[in-house]
């Protein structure tokens, strides 16, 4: 287990290094020059160059990269145009937002976590629950309804469902407030109230895939020999389905859930845009549009960390769910 974890962590570091280098290069491949936007009128080349130097954008690429990475671990001194000294973990200073990127991330990350984590619990409970029920009640009306529901969820898009739900429940019936974010620590009720619509929308759309997947997995597992054996031994239905069959069926679902949650934490651009919430996804989008390198780097790195960590967690979870899997 320890060897496995060490190996996975090392490869995670490599992946994150590759992502950081690529996102750095990607920024410089963008067609727009952030300096032009800083210097709106009559910016002759000399003045443009001065602004570029002030922002540290005229240093060689590797130097900028090393400076950035160093800032994350030990902090760094930035020019006065970039707010002066920046404590570790320093993710740079956004000249677009006029604030340290660490402050931006500290602000927007809880928004994304608040959207994704409760929604993930909902979509997993709903999806796996529906899938199991329809597998156990195969061919019944309940099964057909569950299949129909999941088909609808799988074929619709978030920006459509979100807009319709907003129009009906928020703008017309006024049963839910306009989606907004309040910290869970300051007002838990308002936190839930403001995010219920994104949760329901995400749960509806994501649960579809889980319902279909868990139904198929469960049906396959139920036809396995060990299930028949367990039933023949006289074990109760709930023990066979709950302890044996479900455990075997859920392994691939955990894999997909890990990847989905990791990716969603990394950037729910469409969700946040549809519901007007300023989380990590919207921040990435804004950073790309505005040529805001420090913010872009930080958000892409954090997104990569989420995906990598989620994958490691999935692998570890495997060992607990399925005793046949042993990690070496």
């Amino acid at each position: 287990m320890l060897r496995f974890l060490t190996r996975r962590l090392l490869s995670a570091v490599l992946v994150l290094f590759a992502v950081s280098v690529l996102s750095f290069l990607m920024f410089f491949a963008l067609p727009r020059d952030p300096v032009t936007a800083m210097c709106p009128k009559n910016c002759n080349p000399a003045r443009l160059e001065r602004v570029r130097q002030e922002l540290g954008l005229s240093d060689p690429l590797y130097q900028q990269y090393v400076g950035y990475m160093k800032g994350i671990f030990v902090g760094r001194d930035l020019s006065s145009a970039l707010g002066g000294h920046c404590d570790a973990p320093c993710l740079g200073y956004s000249y677009v937002n006029s604030e340290p990127v660490t402050r931006t991330i500290t602000r927007v990350l809880p928004v994304t976590l608040s959207i994704v984590l409760p929604a993930a619990v909902l979509w997993l409970a709903l999806g796996v629950g529906l899938g199991m029920i329809s597998a156990l009640r195969r061919g019944t009306l309940l099964d057909r309804l569950a299949i129909g529901f999941s088909l609808a969820g799988a074929s619709l898009q978030l920006y459509f469902v979100g807009a319709v739900l907003l129009l009906v429940f928020c703008y017309t019936l006024h049963v839910v407030p306009v989606p907004h974010y309040t910290s869970i620590w300051s007002n838990p009720l308002d936190w839930a109230d403001g995010l219920v619509l994104p949760w329901v929308t995400l749960a509806f759309l994501f649960s579809a895939i889980y319902a279909r997947l868990s139904r198929a997995q469960m049906l396959e597992t139920l036809s396995e020999d060990f299930v028949r054996t367990a039933r023949a031994k006289g074990l109760s239905k709930s023990t066979v389905y709950g302890r044996h069959a479900l455990r075997a069926a859920i392994t691939p679902i955990v894999t997909i859930a890990g990847m989905d949650v990791g990716a969603a934490l990394g950037g729910t651009v469409v969700t946040e845009t549809t519901f007007g919430l300023q989380g990590l996804g919207r921040t990435v989008w804004d950073a790309v549009r505005e040529g805001d390198l420090p913010t872009l780097m930080a958000t892409v790195l954090i997104a990569a960390v989420f995906v990598v960590v989620a994958n490691i967690l999935v692998d570890v979870l495997y060992a607990f769910i399925d005793p046949r899997v042993r990690l070496r």
Partner: protein, 580 residues
Amino acid sequence: MRRRVAAATGCLLALVMTLAACSKNTGQHGTTDSNRKLVGVIATDPKDSQGPAPEVTGASKGGTFYVLKSAKISHLDPQRIYSFVGLQAAPLYARTLTTWKDDGKGNLKLVGDLATTPGEDVNKDCKTWKFTVKDGVKFEDGTAITSKSIAYGIARSFDADLTGGPTYIQEWLANSADYDTAWDFKANKASLPPGLTTPDDKTLQFQFAKPHCDLPFAASLPFTAPMEPAKDTGVNLDTQPLASGPYKVTKNVPGVELDMERNPNWDPATDPVRHQYPDKFVWRFGADRDSADNRMISDSGPDQTALAWDDVSTSLMAKVAGNAALSDQVLTSPTPSEARLSINMQRVTDLSIRQALNYAIDRDDLIKTLGGANVAEPVTTLMPPSTIGYQAYDAYPAGKTGDPAKAKEVLAGKTPSLVLAVMDDEQDLELGTQLKNNLEKAGFKITVKPVPEDSMLDAVGEKNNPWDLYISNWAADWPSGASILPPLYDGRGIKDSGNNDVSYMNDPAIDAEFDRVLAMDPAQQGPEWAKLDQRVMKEIAPAVPLYVDVRYVLHGSKAGGLYVGSVFGYPAFTNAFVKS
């Protein structure tokens, strides 16, 4: 006078156009004042610069006024503000040397804001300007605003760290485009830029090497807002500016929310234009245009006292324009942002071709392509109708839909092949197709050349660009011909790249006229610019004027006192109140 702002307008327009093209709605609706004619003057009577501003009919104190906007305000630091939203939000918390008294109906008067008058041209040569600071003006912390704090505000705009703002006064004082090297702010914080002096706490004096008769206008931009040296936090001032206006920033979560509450140290008796009706202004960022507009249509709860900042999207335009119940919630007006088909005169040297283009243009169809009368309004002049001294004329009368026969007659058998560059987004491509179909009816052969959106502005500013025609936008920083005609058509400013004169017109006789009018008293310039506008179009025809943008925004039923500002064409908040 801003390439960036012009670009921003272009982007905004682009958005409007995409959506507008779907609905083709042409219904005119709401509290439009499409016949708004600008009568602008510089106040000569000091009484005009005194407060308090006349009470707004029906206004009462109290409540929270919300503003919903999709994207954040790029800068709050007055010395860095140059976006339209920044220019409209700044008067709430920042006062400037001069400001515009705007009745929202086209009557504009430039008055003193922190100064007792809009400036005194000491020697009548526009080189020496004197401003006297009013008594009783204070910062939010109660400290008195003096000529020294205003001078320090102007001085810090020289700081290379504080990018983004306009650069007129810096360049005029330094007599150089490289003002930040001519005078280094960081090395000279205790002194003032060359030419800027404060003989005493009440007097501020500008001494320019060349005449700058437009100074009173330029001084209305937020970069003349005062600043206390001890409170200057450099780049961090952008998140927490120091207020001198009726409101102060009490909470700022960039990209999410901006709260402004009453500033108790603002004295209405000193302010000729602002009010302090709502207890609070709350800006909320992030909601996209559709969702903000749906909330205005739904008109419930706090949204009743809100304004949706962004123009109504075209997907909702038909619904809004067709609903009479919403007419009281619509704020609409043509703006000073004008689009023209610029003709590259280095390539199209034949006057008859440029004239024929003007005869051929079908503005009616063009505006339908854009989305109708709620999106754009046709113009035939180089200066938009909201310019001081504007006179309507059509140098090439051909009706609303153009006159291909007349164009052919002017062309006298020629069939010019022209390349039209358009941005490569959907709406501009659509516009390109429309223009191609339109002009080819008159005998032109048009090749539409898509150019990446991000590089379009820079590409047409290259002197040797390979195109004959392109659509360009211009939004002036003040409604004077001086900030429209010379920057766009003075050939002496043409350089290798970064040109605003994208027609590359270079006519010494007209340049001499520019100099003559610029040297006149600004109050007398209006009719002269209007005459020059006609002369340029008739004698040279460097462009085909197309349309001005139309602002079309929604607000809640209890949001009162709003109007579309005549200077920038965006909603103004100086009279805003919450209806009880």
